[in-house]
């Protein structure tokens, strides 16, 4: 008994740096953000005015809406693409699978400012492909503007898909070959297998991935900033300009918006969880 206790103490001691890290750099700032959001601009008076300001401002509400829409669209498109892409990856030989995963892994880390610049270089107003196609007389990109809503979504999707593939791919290993065989022997088509068994079994990981993608897009800052600067009204860009800009520093208002950002993410998680429980009754 005593030995076990001693061991436990050692283990806890090993955990200590991690616990301190989490408190200092995650829970601490979060608590500070929540606290700050309930102060007036002077930082002394306690008030809920910051929230009222946001809810009353069409500008800020638009930022929230824009962020929600771009996150939803990019997450939905990425998840659907990734479900199909990850499945096709599982159909290759192990060697090719490993290589594809390596590429996916690499591209999933390719985001932020470098990604935006790559896009600008290739598809911007004076981008390589834009000019090339124009010279060739093809007007595929004539109506395309990278620094727009479509451009932004394209770039978001680009960094979301590899991440989604990485997250969904392992769950295909959980789909047993015998389920497919049993389904076909019972008269089921491929479609009925995926519709009634495959997708429902993958659902927890699809839903989990969707939540991560949604949060990822909601919080994405550098990519958007590098691409559209402050021209585009997004929640993350607004928060940044309130806490770090040279013009109008309003950290309390920024905190309140940060809290709202967190709430939308938690809301998305909760909603996904509910949806999943409705479909996967066995997981209750």
């Amino acid at each position: 008994m005593r030995k076990i206790k001693k061991q436990k103490i050692y283990l806890l001691a090993l955990l200590l740096p991690f616990i301190l890290f989490v408190i200092g750099f995650e829970i601490g700032p979060l608590a500070a953000m929540i606290k700050n959001s309930f102060y007036a601009d002077d930082g002394i008076q306690v008030t809920i005015n910051q929230y009222l300001t946001i809810f009353k401002s069409d500008f800020y509400m638009k930022a929230i809406q824009n962020s929600l829409v771009i996150s939803l669209i990019s997450a939905v498109i990425s998840v659907i693409t990734a479900v199909i892409a990850a499945y096709s990856i599982t159909k290759f030989s192990q060697k090719i699978q490993n290589r594809l995963l390596m590429i996916t892994n690499m591209t999933s880390n390719f985001e932020g400012i470098p990604l935006s610049f790559s896009y600008i270089i290739l598809l911007g107003n004076n981008g390589l492909f834009t000019l090339l196609f124009a010279k060739m007389g093809l007007d595929v990109f004539a109506d395309f503007n990278l620094y727009s809503w479509t451009g932004l979504i394209l770039v978001y999707i680009y960094f979301q898909i590899p991440l989604a593939v990485m997250l969904i791919y392992p769950s295909y290993q959980g789909i047993k070959k015998q389920w497919k065989e049993a389904s076909s022997l019972l008269g089921g088509s491929k479609f009925s297998f995926w519709h009634r068994i495959g997708i429902p079994v993958l659902l927890p990981s699809i839903v989990g991935t969707f939540s991560i993608l949604f949060a990822n897009a909601m919080g994405a800052y550098a990519t958007a900033y590098a691409l559209v600067g402050s021209n585009y009204n997004l929640l993350s860009l607004q928060i940044a300009s309130l806490v770090a800009s040279d013009v109008a520093l309003k950290p309390q208002l920024g905190s309140a918006m940060g809290v709202l950002l967190a709430v939308t993410m938690i809301g998305a998680l909760w909603f996904n969880e509910q949806m999943m429980r409705r479909i996967r009754r066995d997981l209750r």
């Binding site: 389920w179 049993a182 022997l185």
Partner: protein, 337 residues
């Protein structure tokens, strides 16, 4: 007329022959077992019948219809897997109802209910696979395969993952249900005891060939070669020239001799021997004794030859290790192969 016909079926994986020109016929309602060690081709043959594997040559017919090139869903066969393969996101009812829904059958509810009763799972309709024991899961799998009223039931080592006691009881139940529905059944196993208790007919397979087929009694008492003898009855097998030295007889013919461990009798030295016209008598020493419940298994050595002797476990009549004994071997029990 035969109900299932496997006609010269051959299957190769990259030049390795897995099924070598196999021909088998089964009658309606027959319980047939494919018996063999892993890698002998028995599962491949079963999966070929199910349509889960293509064959390279030959034909498969069920009820007079050539199904060789049909997809699994068109073959009207039911299959139970070793790993149960239940759909984890569906409860017992939905798992069993799946095939009926796919075939758009009417009266799904009553058909499923009847099946659930047959496999003795009433009250478990709403349970999910992960809430059931292995034995219960396999009952669901059986019900799911049977509810679509297949022409042939295929069982791929369905009991191998279960513990001994449940396996025994499920063996009986499987046999009962099979008789009740009079469904033609092909059962795959590597367990000779299981094959013996369940089957009307056994096909012993080795390296892609059917080496012997027959009733359990035929297979057990008259194995056609040493492979079957070793595999089925744990036979003692000797090369003929060594055996001739052992029994000091020069008249014996054949290449090898085989006899089952339970036909040998052990007697204490000095005890009156049995008729020497019908028996060989050898002198030996007990090298090892082990007990498997009701059976005592001796390893006996006689003139540098060692073999197994099985004896029923009578209280107090155990020969200790190192005891010198007489071994009585009835001549008529020896198979000359």
């Amino acid at each position: 007329m035969s109900y299932v016909t496997i006609d010269q079926v051959t299957k190769k994986y990259e030049n390795q022959v897995v099924l070598n020109d196999i021909s088998i016929t089964l009658n309606k309602g027959e319980f047939a077992t494919l018996l063999g060690q892993s890698g002998c081709g028995k599962s491949t043959l079963l999966r070929s019948i199910a349509g889960l594997e293509d064959v390279d040559a030959g034909r498969i017919l069920i009820d007079g219809k050539d199904i060789t090139n049909l997809s699994p869903r068109q073959r009207e066969v039911g299959m139970v897997f070793q790993s149960y393969a239940l759909f984890p996101n569906m409860n017992v009812f939905d798992n069993i109802a799946y095939g009926l829904k796919m075939k758009k059958v009417k009266n799904i509810k009553s058909k499923v209910a009847k099946m659930i009763e047959m496999v003795d799972l009433a009250g478990k309709e709403e349970s999910y696979p992960h809430q059931l024991s292995g034995g219960q899961q396999q009952r669901v799998a059986l019900a799911r395969a049977l509810v679509i009223e297949p022409k042939v039931l295929l069982l791929d080592e369905p009991l191998s993952a279960l513990d001994a006691k449940i396996r025994k009881s499920l063996q009986k139940e499987l046999k009962r249900i099979q008789k009740e529905l009079n469904i033609t059944t092909i059962f795959v196993t590597h367990d000779q005891e299981e094959a013996m208790t369940m089957s009307d007919r056994i096909f012993v397979m080795n390296k892609g060939n059917v080496v012997q087929s027959g009733s359990p009694t035929e297979i057990y008492t008259t194995p056609v070669n040493t492979f079957v003898a070793n595999f089925i009855g744990n036979y003692n097998v000797f090369k003929m020239d060594t055996f001739r030295k052992l029994v000091r007889s020069t008249e014996l013919k054949g290449d090898e001799v085989a006899f089952r461990p339970e036909v040998l009798k052990l007697l204490p030295i000095g005890e009156e021997s049995q008729d020497l016209q019908e028996n060989w008598r050898l002198k030996g020493i007990i090298k090892d004794v082990s007990m498997t419940g009701n059976i005592l298994r001796y390893e006996v050595e006689s003139e540098d030859f060692s073999f197994h002797v099985d004896d029923l476990h009578h209280r107090g009549a155990i020969f200790d290790q190192g005891t010198h004994i007489q071994i009585i071997l009835p001549k008529k029990e020896c198979l000359f192969l």
